[in-house]
Each structure stands twice: as C-alpha cells, then as structure tokens.
C-alpha cells in the first residue's frame, strides 16, 4: 500500500526537478553540474594547497610537537631564495659557482635538456610510425612501451645499468674518460644519467601524442603537394610541420610541467643528494620535519612552473591558434 502512495509523488518530484533543470540558463546549468566535481577537487586538492600555503608562512617547529612554529610571513621565502637555508636543504637554492648542486639550476637543466631531446626523438619516432609498413603495429607497440614503465622500474633499469662492476656499460665509458668510475655518485654524471633515463621513457609519450597529431592530418593535402611537385622535405616543411606544431607545443608544455616536478626518478636512479631537484628539496626537508621550509619550497616550485607556463603560453599563443 505504502509503495503505491509514495511512487507517484516520488515521480512527481523527479519530474519537477527535471523541469526546474530545463528552466535554468546555461550558466546556472553549468554550475549545477560542476558542484560534485568542485566538492571533490576542493577537498583533495585545493584545501590541501591552502593549508600548505598557510604552513609556508610559519617557521619550522624545531622543539614543540606542533607541525609548525610561529607566524613569520614571507621570511621562509626570502631566506630560501637568498640561499640562507642551504644547510637545512642540503643544497643551495641557486648558486652559479656550483650549478650541478643547486636545486633551481639542476631543475632547469633537467627540464630543458630532457624536454628538448624528448621532443626531437619523439617527433622522429612518430614520423617513422606514421608510415605504413610490414610489422608497423609491432613497431608502434615496441616504441610506445616505455611509456608504460613504472617510475620505480625505470629507475631500477638505469640504476642497474650504471652500477659499476655489474654490467658492460660503466667500464668502457669510464676508460674513455666520459664518465667517472662511480657515475651515480657524481653530480654531473648522475644528472646526465637521470636525463637519459627520462628521455628513454618520455620520448614514447611524445611519440604517442605527435603520432596522434600526424594521423589527423588530411592525406589529400599530401596529394596536392605531390601534384604541385613538392619534394619530401618541402612536404614536411609546408604541410606536416605547421599542422602538427600545435600538438607538439601542447605536448611540450605538459612535459615541461612534469619535468620540473621530477623526484621519483632521481630517488630510484641516484639520490636526491647527488641530483638535488626542487621536488627533492621539498621531500628531504619534509622528511626532516622542517614543514615550514618544505611547504615554502613546494610553493616556490609551483610559482616557477606557473611563470614558465605563462611565458610559454604567451610566446606560442599565436602559433598554437594558427
């Protein structure tokens, strides 16, 4: 009995709700749909960031059991960028005289070199994989495979490769004087090895994205170019490159953000003491209970990424839109 009496009214409420939704204008409807996502994002991302920012304005709690000490305003920020916290961080923030030991320079070198090589190699791989040939499907799977390698395994591979005594790679290279006999403990060599391992893995990611871009180019454009007598190089320069450039730029932007946050790879291949990236500094100060300093470096890192991304968007906006 009760079933019968509630069902119609439930149905009516349902219908009225749908009708209400139909009456909303686009903006109201958009915000209605965003409510659940906004709640989740607020709890798992925005609130933690606000809390971390608040901690970055407090001193490290060295003696008390609290997470942080007294409110100090922007003192943490000032002291970090002026290298006054080098002792706590284990490495200076920015020191031209020892570039492979200062967090900011290491992060920039890693990002610039690895993103450049990833883009060039990934582009080359995508061009090859865009052709039809026998075994193309297997070649695609093989070349994209490193994309799927977990960071801990990627790190393990290069750790084992450059571990002296085990393999056949370190001895010949160090005999030629290219690397030291214990490369993973040397600032410069370890940075290069971390970059090589990053390039190995993420060229595949670039290749995947650029290949998708190449696939969406209208084939008829090449027929037109051939009829017009264009050589392969001209076809590449006049058709392929301009059409795929927006995809390349977006892929580079994505990789730049991720590269500037590098941590896990360094920790598994070498160590944060040897290759001190900004994210490494966040983690090492965190592990030492210096939560104020740790939070501040995290925000400095995000600010630097924001500046780089902003500059990037401004510079390439026109070519990405065209």
């Amino acid at each position: 009995m009760s079933q019968e009496s509630t069902t119609p009214s439930k149905y009516a409420i349902h219908k009225r709700l749908l009708y209400r939704i139909e009456l909303l204008n686009d903006t109201q409807f958009a915000y209605l749909l965003l409510i659940p996502s906004a709640l989740v994002i607020a709890v798992i991302a925005i609130w933690p960031l606000i809390r971390t920012f608040e901690m970055s304005l407090h001193a490290d709690a060295l003696l008390s059991s609290d997470l942080t000490g007294a409110f100090v305003g922007i003192e943490n920020y000032v002291e970090i960028v002026t290298n006054e916290r080098s002792a706590q961080m284990g490495s200076p923030f920015f020191d031209m005289s020892q570039p492979f030991k200062s967090a900011l320079i290491v992060t920039f070198i890693f990002t610039l070199v690895s993103v450049t090589f990833e883009t060039l190699i990934g582009f080359g791989q995508a061009l090859v994989l865009n052709k039809d040939f026998r075994g193309q499907r297997w070649a695609r799977t093989a070349i994209i495979l490193p994309l799927a390698v977990p960071i801990v395994i990627q790190g393990m591979i290069f750790y084992l490769m450059f571990q002296p005594d085990i393999g056949f790679i370190v001895d010949p290279l160090s005999n030629m004087g290219l690397i030291s006999s214990t490369p993973l403990a040397n600032n410069f060599d370890a940075t290069v090895i971390v970059i090589v391992s990053d390039v190995w893995k993420t060229s595949a990611f670039m290749a995947l994205l650029i290949l998708a871009g190449l696939q969406s180019i209208d084939r008829r454009l090449y027929d037109v170019a051939k009829v017009a007598g264009a050589t392969r190089w001209q076809q590449f320069k006049r058709v392929t490159l301009p059409l795929v450039l927006p995809v390349v730029l977006i892929a580079m932007l994505f990789r730049t953000v991720l590269a500037m946050r590098v941590f896990g790879l360094i920790e598994t291949v070498s160590s944060c003491n040897t290759v001190p990236s900004l994210s490494c500094m966040v983690v090492s100060t965190f592990s030492n209970g210096l939560y104020g300093t740790s939070a501040t470096i995290a925000f400095i890192t995000a600010a630097i990424i924001a500046v780089v991304v902003g500059g990037y968007i401004l510079k390439y906006r026109e070519s990405a839109v065209a």
Partner: protein, 287 residues
C-alpha cells in the same frame, strides 16, 4: 650523387626505425640479461647472460609476495581511474560545451593544480587521511594503509590531465547533435546521457587508459601513504624495493621483479595502443 631519391629515402627510413627500436628495447634486454645471470656471477656481465638461471623469476615470489603488490597496484589504479573518469567527464562536458561566466578562471584553477609537486599536497592529506583532522568536532576517518589513503591523492594528481583531454573531446562534438536530441523532446540530462556520452566513448577510453597507466606507475604517494607491507595495500613500488632494501642488493631479483611488475601495463599498451591513438586523433589535442 643520389641516383634514386626514393630508395635512398627507404634505406634511411629502415635505419631510423631500426635505431629507434634498438634504443627503446635495449634497456628491457639488459634487464633480462641481469635477471637470468646467477647471482654469484653478477660481475662484468657482458651482452649475454653470465650463466643461465631462469629460476630467478620463481624465487622472487618466494622472497616477497610480488603478485600481491601487483594486485594492489592494479586495484588502486582501477579505483582511481573510475573516480577520475566520473569527475573528469562531467567537468569536461561543462568546460567543453558551455560558454559561461567564470569558465576560464575555473579552467585556470584546474591547470594551476597540476603545477604543484605532489609533495605540496602531502602534509594536509596525510593529516586528513590518518584521522588527525577535526572539522566541526568530527575527526576524519583513519584511512592510512587502506586504498582510500592512496586513491584520493592519486585522483587529485591525475584529474587535470583527464579534464583537459575530455574538455577538448567534448568541445568537438557538433552542437547540432545535442540540439536535435533536445528538439526531439529529450531533456538536458537525457541528451547528455543518450547523445554526448556515447559519442565520447573513445575520449573516455583514452583518458581512462592513460590514468590507469600513470596511477599504476606513480611513485610518490605509493611510497608514502602505506607502511609498505602487501597487506596494507602497498602497491608495486614497495614490491620492487623489497629486493633492494630488505635483502641487500639482490640485483638479479631486482631485474626479474622489474620485468614481472611491468606486465599489467605492458599488456594494456599492447591491446589498447590503437585505441589510445585513435582516441587522441579524434579529439583530445586538436584545437
């Protein structure tokens, strides 16, 4: 003097393909060489294994429950993918198909979230997920050593990517289709679920596969949000590190476990490769 540019081009093409394949596959080969070499012979290993000990692939399971760690990793990645897809599809739909006040600032906030290193989320999330946070007199649940403690930070990390993939994907579905459904008498939500969602299946598949791969491969929170035992939902990272820390430097086991740990994501790439590319081709990155 190049006589025949076409055949020169072909030779160059095969050289490039061969070169890329060797460079890509060499590290896997090197792992196999180390894994197959008996532990006693692990010095100055050449280009082929120094002896032959396939038993390493069985011994690793006797030392640590590697399969359990892999299982944990897969479950965590599936849970994260489900959460991310639900949230990102709604958000992507709104961003991709509506012009409304505040759209650009909201999208910039989502983009800015991805600028922060994972460590920036760590302390508050750790507090919240270990039950040390009190809001209005209620303390948060203690999720440490449960899937929840990792799935939440994973979702926060990988949401922005899926939101952007799906935003561009939704924005490319012609307005006419949705309008036609509305004229036919479908409600707004009806049009969303009957017209837009089915059309966006390739985009959802791409975003889902990438989220699964990135989550399974994640390092930071996987490392910090459990105590590291398989029974506490510790994922792959901890399984691999078992052979590095607890038992000294068991290089051949490290290599063997690395090869085994890759199997789930390698299979995914093998089977989903074409779908990922077509999903990205149809939308995703086109402006």
């Amino acid at each position: 003097m190049i006589r025949n540019p076409e055949s020169t081009y072909r030779i160059l093409f095969y050289f490039a393909t061969g070169g890329f394949l060797i460079a890509t596959l060499f590290p896997f080969y090197y792992l196999a060489v180390i894994a197959l070499t008996p532990r006693g012979n692990l010095y100055d290993v050449g280009v082929t294994p120094n002896g032959f000990n396939p038993g390493a692939f069985i011994e690793i399971f006797q030392i640590a429950p590697l399969h359990h760690f892999i299982f944990n990793g897969v479950v965590l990645a599936l849970l994260t993918t489900a959460i991310v897809l639900v949230i990102a599809s709604i958000t992507g739909y709104v961003f991709g198909r509506f012009e409304f006040r505040g759209r650009i600032p909201l999208m910039l906030i989502v983009l800015a979230i991805s600028y922060f290193p994972p460590a920036a989320f760590l302390i508050p999330l750790f507090e919240m997920l270990t039950g040390n946070l009190t809001v209005f007199g209620l303390s948060s649940p203690d999720l440490f050593n449960t899937p929840g403690a990792m799935v939440m930070p994973f979702s926060a990390l990988f949401l922005p990517l899926s939101i952007f993939i799906l935003t561009t994907f939704f924005s490319q579905i012609p307005d006419g289709l949705e309008d036609a459904a509305r004229v036919e008498g479908s409600t707004r939500l009806g049009a969303l679920y009957r017209v837009i969602m089915p059309l966006s299946a390739p985009g959802l598949a791409t975003a889902g596969v990438l989220t699964f791969i990135f989550t399974y491969n994640e390092f930071f929170f996987s490392f910090l949000m459990t105590d590291g035992s398989a029974d506490s939902w510790a994922p792959l990272v901890w399984g691999i590190l078992q052979y590095q820390t607890q038992y000294g430097e068991l290089y051949n086991y490290m290599a063997a476990s690395a090869l085994v740990g890759m199997i789930p994501v390698a299979m995914l790439v093998l089977f989903a490769q074409r779908h990922i590319i077509s999903g990205l081709t149809q939308g995703a990155l086109k402006e």
